[in-house]
Symmetry: C2
Subunit: 204 residues, 2 copies
DNA sequence: GAGAGTATGTACCGACCAGTACAACGGGGA
DNA sequence: TCCCCGTTGTACTGGTCGGTACATACTCTC
């Protein structure tokens, strides 16, 4: 989704171009996550993707556009998850469980992308920065809405919805820092334990 | 504390040198927090500190050493807080409250330093990176110890101490991302609400 | 005041930066 | 067969990077 250098014109390009680009985005996310965005040179990206500069720029447009693509990749998933939960039927408690489950799932499926987006988002500029902030805020609103609904329904005690949302986000997002994939705990288990703590903590 | 270019030799230098250096560290933390470590050039630091390159390097040694000084500044506080709580008498619940109170206090007193340390710690290399990791781990152990003690004492239910510690850290550390200082909520209030959620969430 | 050592600005270094120009390659369609 | 165009590598650009060399200015001690 979001900005691409140009929409698929139907020409021969779009056959492989888009999938190739996706692969480059993913590989570059790994490099950025390991070395940092600004600390990574274009030449390193070329090496990691086994491409010359000409070929690489044929796909990415610019370094910042590549960074934005990494952000989009993960935000698309996050927002889809949020929308799914919002559309579902269920009590606020159940929805909060679903949100946590979805978020931890994404963090563990895209650890590199998430690392990049949580570390390097200030490197986005202009319109790209604006768009990203809006999308991020949209998700936060989803969480806040569920918490507010829970308070109104009497399921949760009278917490400050905004502060509670931030606490919830912090607890979950922080996972990107320590999760390594070799744990005995599955992503679902992690989300379950977080939910146990959090929902018990705000229950009326 | 930690590494300085050289200990105060008692020469005329140490009179003003150390305090001047501290001011430079603080000012630079602000710049790094706003623009990012790698994205900030030495010339920008010179401008922010109103010094020429020669003068600046007279104080900082190198860019990475300056980064390490910012880390030390805040980790000194964090570890002191952790040690104070460990030495205090009190139930595990009380200690967890004190830890949270101390951590939020530091995050709100040193928002720039904390931003830098949570974003740019991967830029530290070699021994400096190693030292930092150890100090960070030391604090995490303090939290984990309190939680384990609470479980053993029957105050908390049988949670996974490590995972619970990470949840606790995430909830608190994330504050650096959204706290702006213009809130109606005082740092103490924030810590109190977090504690209400978290301790209720793990109570036996 | 003379001397010593700290503090500071200026000029400069080689390396690397993101990005571009452009020519050559290669495979599919006519 | 030949041509078109997506694809790719190479060479190159102006600019900036972190860091250094070094001469000068300042300030404190004797």
């Amino acid at each position: 989704m979001a900005a691409m250098p140009q929409a698929d014109g139907g020409s021969r390009r779009s056959a492989n171009w888009a999938t190739r680009r996706d692969a480059i985005v993913d590989t570059s996310a790994r490099v950025f996550a390991q070395n940092g965005y600004h600390a990574t040179g274009i030449n390193e990206l070329c090496a990691a993707n086994e491409l010359g500069k000409g070929a690489l720029y044929h796909y990415i447009g610019s370094k910042e556009e590549l960074l934005a693509a990494i952000h989009d990749r993960v935000m698309d998933e996050v927002l889809a998850s949020g929308a799914r939960v919002a559309a579902s039927s269920g009590t606020p408690s159940e929805k909060l469980v679903q949100l946590g489950d979805g978020l931890i799932d994404i963090i563990t499926r895209f650890p590199d992308h998430v690392w990049v987006f949580l570390h390097e988002f200030p490197a986005l500029t202009g319109e790209r920065a604006e768009t990203f902030r809006e999308r991020r805020r949209e998700y936060e609103k989803r969480v806040e809405t569920v918490i507010s609904a829970g308070v109104k329904a009497g399921e949760f005690r009278k917490v400050d919805p905004r502060l509670t949302t931030l606490a919830w986000l912090g607890m979950h997002n922080y996972t990107y820092l320590w999760w390594r994939g070799d744990r005995k705990l599955s992503p679902r288990d992690i989300a379950q334990r977080f939910a146990d703590i959090f929902i018990d903590g705000i229950r009326a």
